[in-house]
Subunit: 206 residues, 2 copies
DNA sequence: CTTGAAAATGAACAATGTTCAAGAAGAATC
DNA sequence: GATTCTTCTTGAACATTGTTCATTTTCAAG
């Protein structure tokens, strides 16, 4: 049985344009923020009609959500690239990588965390799951470092720790708030982890 | 010299309506989120024309920003009410009070942290300052607990700690993400503080 | 080539923020 | 109290932007 679908020229064109629309939307969000994203701008830049955008994504939220989905995917890929050789280093690496990624793609991350659906439509489950999975990446190193602890507790701890790091970074990079210089922020995150890992008994008191 | 401006009947009416508009806007944001706030709804509920809303607040962002200003003011008031008798208890109290306030006014807090201005207009400085001041409320108890530490470092630590707590709470209450049960979240925040204060040498290792 | 299905189009519509000329209301002056 | 001046209020009109859909175009299959 051959499951490989041949891609007709028509589908190729369709896919090419789908990617193009996403690329353009991502570019606008990254450059000028989610609030500056307009259907007509995207359609014009992609050389198609607004109807085609709707045809491809259902509604405008569909475009945003697809960009967000790809953002969290890219984030996860980056976080998975952190070396797991030494579990302590891995924790620092995850936090620092998150900081790097957030610095490089601040507006995309904000779109991911701040976008609200119209009315009371639910946020897509798969994206939420992907975010939770990303935040669970501290789980394996924590398990290694706290072998006697309950696995459920570690899962909770992983989310808590990553959420804390997220708070420090997202507010630290918020240029609206008194902006923290990047180098200082990195140091801030490190010292935060220092203290916390000492508190968890993972690192010795200095 | 008498600096007290008599309030003319006209001003009274104006002020009454200003307050009414804010009350209505706050109610809508709190109940259905910032994205559901519409000028016409506010004007109709306040029994005036849309023009009057603009006359009073300049533009629609003006309404939102005023609500946000009052939100952070209310938050600060609540946080200032935390007892400063015991500095350790004060830190826990600040975190728990923040959790309480966030639970009760989740949509208002989200409006404060997530609202972006049109184009590239800057977010009002006074609001940013108020948020930073609120986050600095951990400073005094930390100074008492770490009398030998550099004051600038403590200021940074205060912001970091509060930002971390903010991250844990805002993501924990995010019903979009896998919602954490309130009681569990409270425990989560407490355990987070436990570990961190141990790490800072403020609490003894248990 | 014909034909039927799928996609693309863009004008029209709908929702919503914004402006402003005209009128109403109130204060100031006599 | 009448007149005049200032200020506020109004809401229709406009501007922007998301959404729909009847029509046209495209193109693969027969």
């Amino acid at each position: 049985m051959n499951n490989v679908q041949e891609e007709s020229p028509r589908d190729q064109k369709k896919n090419r344009r789908r990617l193009q629309i996403l690329e353009i939307a991502r570019g606008i969000i990254a450059a000028k923020g989610l609030r500056s994203l307009k259907v007509r701008d995207v359609a014009e830049a992609a050389g198609c009609s607004v109807g085609s955008v709707y045809n491809e994504f259902g509604d405008f939220d569909g475009v945003i959500l697809t960009v967000n989905r790809e953002t969290v995917q890219a984030l996860t890929d980056r976080l998975r690239g952190v070396s797991d050789e030494d579990p302590v280093r891995q924790l620092y690496g995850l936090a620092e990588t998150y900081l790097e990624f957030f610095s490089e793609h601040a507006n995309l991350l904000r779109s991911l965390f701040e976008h609200r659906m119209e009315d009371d439509r639910p946020y897509p489950d798969d994206i939420l799951q992907m975010v939770m999975d990303a935040f669970a990446l501290m789980h394996p190193p924590l398990v290694r470092l706290l072998p006697d602890a309950d696995d459920v507790k570690i899962a909770l701890l992983s989310r808590t720790l990553f959420s804390a790091v997220h708070g420090i970074i997202s507010l630290g990079l918020e240029e609206r708030m008194v902006a923290v210089p990047p180098q200082l922020l990195r140091q801030q995150v490190e010292q935060f982890l220092d203290a916390h890992l000492v508190g968890l008994g993972i690192l010795p008191r200095r």
